[in-house]
């Protein structure tokens, strides 16, 4: 009866694409003050007090995403998921009971770059202390029991099968592989059949020992506590983490040298299409130019060219979008859509035509002005809750963005004009070197 909202609301891909951009968006009025400090063992902490609701989020972020899988695709996700499946001598069941008896919600997740462990709790002290103690145990004293390892591995194997019955998941995996080649970003975050078969418990233990260390951690904390309380909480959670080694840099992502086309035959009513290439990384000098450039093209829903042409003018698709996924290293530039089989070629031609037109000519002045006013005017919406702030400061801390990133975001956006957009598009987006993935009936 709790947490059913996510099942009830089906957001479509274009919404998600938009939200992912929103993550890096704006500031103009009273930007929340981010407090920051380092713990004795070297963990960077970012804290925003938020006193309106008696709740607190504590999130520990490690550079322990799938980019660190080192050939064993799925290892980061499995390790992260196993933390709460046995710790400090307590079983999965006991751990779950501890959190849930005080209404606390444990959070764990691993993506390409980040692995996250956190908790949301009420701030009444008897609840909060239980939640913080629970978080500390799963983070610093996981037991990695053999039975839990086998069980979670089996569940991941079923999820691999589930992806094989999803044309969109098949397309997305093929797209990652084609764009990233041999780079660690090329492999599925949740593993493959063969990588999961190779995985052992000692792989998990080694991964944990190497990456879940203080040198590799950032803490984000948002909620109704005083600074001294936040310091005490963070100290309790991370002080027993060993200092460890800072991770080495990831290899650079190589730009594509030629166009590639991948066709996968699948008996679906729609063809799923991804077209794209390498994009941009966090802190990239072209970051703001490309972020703004994408907005009128395929990043602003109904205000975007792709939706106007492909959905509104032609009725070819329900969802069509483009976005950049900035990562530690260069991430994806993706254009995506789905259309019924017979329309595949028409859709592909339109997508290509719109991209070429945009890269050649850029946005017109008015289009760009509208985008800038949407990004700047919409800023208050992006930071109007604890969850949203937590997302921002996690990103700022993890990627070593300047602490005044939010304060300067709007100025950085406003500094972009048509010339800067055109310049960045010309240098960074190459219509002749796109990866095209098509999954559907052939």
């Amino acid at each position: 009866m709790v947490n059913k909202m996510s099942k009830a609301l089906l957001f479509n891909k274009r919404v998600l694409a938009f939200l992912s951009l929103v993550m890096v968006s704006s500031v103009s009025f009273a930007t929340p003050t981010i407090q920051t400090w380092q713990t004795a063992n070297g963990v960077k902490v970012l804290f925003v007090p938020a006193n309106e609701i008696p709740m607190l989020d504590v999130r520990v972020v490690f550079d322990a995403g799938s980019a660190r899988d080192n050939g064993l695709s799925g290892l980061a996700v499995l390790t992260n998921g196993l933390l709460s499946e046995g710790a400090a001598g307590k079983s999965s069941q006991e751990i779950a009971e501890i959190f849930e008896s005080v209404g606390a919600q444990i959070e764990y997740d691993a993506g390409r770059d980040m692995a996250v462990v956190g908790v949301r709790s009420l701030t009444e002290s008897r609840y909060l202390s239980t939640a913080v103690k629970g978080l500390t145990e799963v983070l610093t004293q996981p037991d990695f029991p053999q039975d839990a390892f086998q069980r979670e591995l089996n569940r991941m194997k079923v999820s691999v099968k589930a992806r094989q019955q999803s044309p969109s998941a098949l397309a997305s995996e093929a797209f990652d592989k084609a764009v990233f080649g041999e780079h660690p970003y090329a492999f599925p975050v949740s593993g493959t059949k063969s990588s999961l078969e190779k995985m052992t418990l000692s792989d998990v233990q080694e991964f944990y020992n190497k990456y879940y260390v203080a040198s590799n951690a950032t803490v984000a904390i948002v909620g109704n506590v005083e600074r001294w309380q936040a310091e005490e909480i963070v100290k309790a959670v991370v002080s027993s983490l060993p200092v460890g080694q800072k991770v080495t840099d990831l290899p650079q992502v190589k730009p594509l040298t030629a166009a590639k086309k991948i066709v996968i035959d699948y008996p679906s009513a729609q063809t799923h299409i991804f077209v794209g290439q390498t994009g941009v990384k966090r802190g990239d000098e072209d970051y703001f130019s490309l972020y703004v450039a994408n907005h009128p093209f395929g990043g602003s829903g109904f205000a975007s060219r792709l939706v106007e042409v492909i959905r509104e003018d032609k009725g070819l698709a329900y969802s069509v979008y483009s976005y950049f996924t900035p990562l530690r290293e260069i991430g994806l530039f993706t254009m995506g859509m789905q259309t019924k089989t017979e329309q595949t070629q028409q859709a592909l031609s339109l997508l290509d035509q719109e991209l070429r037109k945009y890269v050649d000519n850029g946005p017109d002045e008015e289009e760009l002005a509208d985008s800038l006013s949407n990004i700047t005017g919409g800023f208050p919406l992006k930071i109007d809750g604890n969850s949203k702030l937590l997302g921002y400061i996690s990103m700022i801390g993890f990627y070593d963005m300047p602490i005044d990133y939010l304060d300067n975001f709007l100025d950085n956006v406003k500094a972009i004009d048509v010339n800067k957009v055109n310049d960045a598009l010309t240098r960074r987006v190459h219509p002749d070197k796109m990866v095209t993935v098509i999954v559907g009936k052939q």
Partner: protein, 472 residues
Amino acid sequence: MKLKLIIAAVAVSTLVLGWILFDSEEPLKEQSKDGVQSFQLSNGMKVLVIENHRAPVVVSQIWYKVGASYEHDGITGVSHVLEHMMFKGTKKHPAGEFSDIVAANGGEENAFTGQDYTAYFQKIANDRLELCLEMEADRMRNTIFEEKEFLKEIEVVKEERRLRTDDKPTALTYERFNAVAYTNSPYRRPIVGWMEDLDTLTVDDAREWYETWYAPNNATLVVAGDVDANDVYRLAKQYFGQLSASVIPELKPRHEAKQYGTQRLTVELPAKIPYLIMGYKVPVMTPESVNGEAEWELYALEVLAGVLDGGNSARFSKNLVRGQEIATSASAGYNMSSRHETLFTLSAIPNDGVEIDVLEFALREEVSMIQSQLPDDEELERVKAQVVAAQVYQQDSTFYQAMKVGMLDTIGLPWQMKDDYVAKILSVTALQVQQVANKYLIDESLTVAVLNPLPIENGDKETMPAGVNHGQ
């Protein structure tokens, strides 16, 4: 951004108590315990305002009492298609202008259709509320229905159906499960509509639906955020107050007919993993049952769902995912807030190599267990602790706050119910949980659907490399 979402099944825990009787005097203002202020315009439109001054933003939602459950066979999906057509412009604001103005002002907008409602919303800086209300009032009465636009938009909706349902084995199974579980209830039809109905729907069908249901006296405006309630009332009166009321048709009751014994169906289609859904017919909150003698049953059903699936410590995780390790996931769902009788659902994905009837047996064992043995105090306390905490966490989303009251009001329930939700959950006893399990989770009213995967022809990259063409 105007994404047109479908709410497939609304399982939002809300629920409240207490009646407020509106009369047509305006401004009639009532305030609930957690700050909902209520007004009514002379044309019958309701205005609900939640002041929340955390950030200088506002959420504006307009809810119409119409949705898929108002439809009849042959025009299924028309409520949702109409929702799409509402973005096609008016004489004053031609197609695209509403979206463009909202976007240029830094706002976000969207709409969604459910079985029992259709709603449109904007999220925007609080000083831009007026322009949203002006445009929303305009399209309530002046939307243009052009055949040319309709013919394109209906293709978009069909693509939406293919994306959300036809190409998703579990979603398709769920659609067919509903079609079998309900005999005469309108909930047996999908919100998005049957494909043949979409193929034959006309612009006149959409226009007629609009003219029938979109009127101020069939709508509720909910505004939440950094606003003054009296200002909102004034603006609402200015823009919506001038619209004339309509005569809204009275729906036939269509109460679900009695079921005589377990119903079963198998869905066979290309897929990789099996899936099981079981549903028992259960009552929902009605205006008559609010604060009534049998009301506790509905709260007990919600607690029952929590005992089975309220978190990682609940029975399904404990016994089925861990324990026996026969499911990779298992869930239980019940939502008391809907207009018609609904289903208490159990669903699960079997672990690799586990037969689907073994899984069904295990789910039924969980049901029997709770029917024969009282749940212990600690597990009940955990369920309740999570409800108490969730009520606090939900305050982080102004949108969600607005959605709760909008939905309750639109399905005909007093939104003041939400204030007493936690207290009513806390008062549920172990015996009551057992009683509702025995009364409602019975074979006579059960429907079981199984997704039985067929081979995916030509679709398996690992076994059919011939289907893959790398390079150009």
